[in-house]
Subunit: 251 residues, 2 copies
């Protein structure tokens, strides 16, 4: 269609990077692209923390790369301004959290799109809302780690990852509730991948899972996700509270 | 830098559109760009609903435009698949909500970036998580309205909106807590705009606000935001519950 759509459609996640640094000018350009994303509030309720200290990158991301960009939902500086005028912004609202998170991650997506267009590779780190970043990054109150991307020169050339067919994801004027056959066909290949992984587990591990009532790949996937979220969610809620979002006050 | 960064940096929100339809091929291209955004889950936990029915657009957005694209956090189809295998995905987790919301809105941001690169204009509608869309759009359980953008041929040519200076938003390896002077200078202009609006209120309205303890533009802004969130949040929580996110179970 045009170079922009071509670049978006060509996206692949890169997980291996050459050690080469990224030029300051390039970092500046991708961050400017980030800050030009739409933002609902006049006050831009997010900040970027650009990390190029190798020890910090090692601590927050499971990849070796020259740069990581953290985006935080940030009400700190605006609260400070409001305090000068005895005004208090209602941070702790479900809609405010969603709106600020939206602003933060679309700004980070612009960073990704800009970086890829300049030949760089990127990988998002999903569990960042559960990470303890307050001390290593000096985060003040009213700041919540929302999203993280690692950026570098690609050291691999993977294929694009498969997506669901458009008919599964795109609806027209009304949600089309799929038939059982559609649902089966859309996820068949993914189910087969999980089933193969399950079949290839060491026999003792598989037997142990089966004794615990976990008899197929999808059940194991869900069990693993339960464990992943259980380990993470306490930290997510702690980080949300530090960021100004006390969930207990919502209910 | 290159056409992609140039297009990102040139973003302006468009709020007035010509009535001309958008070609199917164009809509297809921008949606394909959307679905190629990174996604953490193998199962793409979102769907797009493309709306070109004028009555529906009128109902969900305060703009007249040929197309609106709603993105929903969507666990419906994957849950259906898992049920065939007696597996239950743990939807109701804070981290799962954030991850799925992240995937949904960055897919929508790709839609925006692609649309703008093709000469179209866009405006995000922020209060969509609070809208009652279940009946008009036939949303099933486990679907949550996450983000909405209106798309059309621009009928206006506005300047780009101001952003905070880079020093306010970009940190390097560590969050730099700003000085009072920095905070004042970054938001001075915004404070002046609100103060001017407050000064220009009808005298009776301003007197009434002052009797209620609201004596400047920033205090009025915060009071308005409290009202906006108070009206919205009950609906947000209802929509979250329909989407599979029972916040009461988090605490």
């Amino acid at each position: 269609m045009n170079p922009v759509v071509e670049s978006l459609v060509a996206h692949r996640t890169i997980r291996s990077f050459r050690p080469d640094a990224i030029e300051d000018e390039t970092v500046g350009a991708i961050l400017e692209a980030g800050t030009r994303a739409a933002t609902g509030g006049y006050f831009q309720p997010y900040s970027f923390i650009v990390i190029d200290d190798p020890k910090l990158i090692e601590r927050i991301a499971p990849y070796s790369a020259p740069v990581a960009v953290l985006v935080v939902v940030d009400h700190h500086r605006f609260q400070r301004f409001l305090e000068f005028h005895d005004a208090v912004f209602p941070i702790n609202s479900p809609l405010n959290l969603l709106l600020a998170y939206w602003d933060a991650v679309i700004a980070l997506q612009n960073v990704v799109v800009a970086a890829e267009s300049l030949g760089l590779g990127t990988v998002y780190i999903g569990d960042v809302p559960s990470k303890e970043l307050g001390e290593p990054l000096g985060l003040p109150d009213d700041v919540f780690p929302a999203g993280l991307v690692v950026v570098g020169h690609p050291a691999q050339d993977p294929d694009r990852r498969r997506r669901l067919p458009a008919e599964a994801v795109v609806h027209h004027n009304r949600y089309h509730v799929p038939t059982d056959g559609q649902v089966r066909s859309w996820y068949r290949r993914y189910g087969e991948i999980l089933e193969k992984e399950f079949d290839e587990l060491p026999e003792e591990e598989r037997a142990q899972l089966q004794r615990a009532g976990i008899g197929n790949g999808l059940q194991k996937f869900c069990r693993d996700m339960v464990g992943f979220f259980d380990r993470a969610d306490h930290h997510v809620l702690t980080n949300l509270a530090r960021g100004g979002f006390e969930i207990a006050d919502w209910v």
